[in-house]
């Protein structure tokens, strides 16, 4: 049976992980390579690296990191942040990433999705989207949820699927950082509307939140950062918990 995936997300700045990550057993918790390896050993199904440097001078630092991660990591990983062209993608994939995530650049230029899907295959194109629920409904936001676009989320996701995105990573700005659970109502609607895998993001606080997003939100995977980094939730324990609830996981 296809397992629901648990995906820790690591923010990267200048080739180092940011946020005080609480991995006492690591010599250097700021080293993405060591951290990636530790997460794979703990049972993570995939990893997402989000580069928040995203300036062109620092690109080489990121590519070096991607290469080093690829050498040690035996599970798939996605790299996002500041990717805006076919050339950026070619470099990141060549360094060893399995997938890339695009967000703002795809909103500004939807044709980029088509171009990447045709050149590299849909399987490596993750369309990340930040959205907020307002009176108008779910609206797409840019720059980490600061800039409204006027584009409605569901329309955008349908278009992204049609253009060849292979997977959707949806972050609810209403839920992100609250630790009150994922945006399950919206997730369930999206999951039924599109026929590509859906990653839930934003709102993970406890183990039940993950169970809820898989059952009620019909998500195929769930992404979180701080609950894993600060060891509020241990991945192995989380998977045991999900298994007891008859949710298929890889143990």
């Amino acid at each position: 049976m296809l397992a629901k995936r648990i995906i820790p997300c690591l923010d990267i700045k200048d080739g180092r992980t940011v946020k005080g990550i609480n991995f006492v057993d690591l010599k250097d918790a700021g080293d993405p390579v060591e951290l990636a390896k530790a997460y794979a050993e703990k049972g993570a199904d995939e990893l997402v690296f989000l580069d928040i440097t995203a300036t062109h001078e620092k690109r080489k630092t990121l590519l070096d990191m991607v290469g080093k991660v690829a050498q040690v990591l035996n599970i798939p990983f996605t790299v996002g942040g500041g990717i805006s062209s076919s050339e950026d993608v070619a470099q990141v994939l060549k360094a060893g990433a399995d997938k890339i995530a695009i967000n703002s650049s795809a909103v500004r230029n939807p044709e980029l999705i088509t171009e990447l899907a045709n050149r590299f295959g849909s399987q490596c194109v993750v369309l990340a989207v930040d959205a907020r629920e307002t009176e108008k409904g779910w609206e797409v936001y840019l720059n980490g949820g600061r800039i409204p676009t006027g584009i409605m989320l569901f329309d955008w996701l349908k278009e992204a699927e049609k253009r060849g995105a292979g997977e959707i990573l949806f972050t609810s700005m209403n839920h992100d950082g609250t630790k009150n659970g994922f945006a399950n109502e919206a997730l369930a609607e999206i999951s039924q509307m599109i026929n590509i895998p859906l990653i839930a993001s934003g709102g993970a606080g406890n183990m039940q939140d993950f169970a809820d997003t898989f059952v009620n939100g019909k998500a195929d995977a769930a992404l979180a950062a701080s609950v894993f980094h600060y060891k509020e939730i241990e991945i192995h324990e989380l998977k045991q918990f999900l298994k007891e609830k008859n949710i298929p996981v890889r143990l």
Binding site: M1, A3, A70, I75, P76, G96, S122, Q123, N195, D220
Partner: protein, 196 residues
């Protein structure tokens, strides 16, 4: 592990670096090449692939690799699209394949999400690649096309329907999943191939 000459076929199709790194984690170094003589003289050959079938087949033809691969006598391991190209044909771009396995590659019906992406279980395990691997062990898949279960099937996975997770005929081995991305289980499968 004895020192071996392992060649990964390079035809500009995807995850070649990942396969090389996975072998390095097993303490084996591999050469990436599209040179006919190098491939011919390898002890083992790995035929990876990510991307679109018709495009990949054309890339093989450009280097004459479409003629070479079916004639290889040493153990050959096709991975993902590599496996699909080793079949007679694929519905993807109506592509004629290498016909090592006389079976067809079909598109998953849209009864569930496509691509089949993530960790799924192996069953009906058979053959040398799966020494030490247990039924229901998980490996990582990403694909929209599948090879139905047939007489060359050496393991099965169920998504929408049971399909071939791996194939074998004589010296030709192939897996639909990515052993290089399948954690410890994948490393063990690769190691079994190296030890053939």
């Amino acid at each position: 592990m004895t020192k071996q000459n392992i060649v990964i076929i390079n035809y500009e199709a995807g995850n070649i670096q990942s396969v090389k790194y996975a072998l390095e984690r097993l303490g084996v170094s591999a050469e990436i090449s599209n040179c006919e003589a190098t491939i011919k003289h390898a002890d083992k050959v790995i035929f990876p692939g990510v991307g679109e079938a018709a495009w990949a087949m054309n890339a093989l033809k450009k280097n004459g690799l479409d003629k070479l691969i079916p004639q290889l006598k040493q153990p050959v391991l096709g991975v993902c699209l590599g496996m699909q190209l080793m079949c007679a044909s694929s519905e993807e771009g109506n592509t004629k394949g290498l016909d090592i396995f006389p079976v067809e590659t079909l598109k998953f019906p849209a009864e569930d999400k496509v691509p089949h992406m993530g960790w799924n279980q192996l069953n009906q395990l058979n053959g040398d690649l799966f020494k030490g691997i247990k039924n229901n062990d998980f490996v990582y898949f990403v694909h929209s096309y599948y090879v139905p279960v047939n007489k060359y099937t050496t393991s099965e996975t169920n998504y929408i329907r049971p399909f071939s997770a791996s194939l074998q005929k004589d010296n030709f081995y192939a897996c639909q999943f990515h052993p290089e991305k399948s954690g410890d289980i994948g490393q063990e499968i690769l190691s079994n191939f190296i030890n053939l």
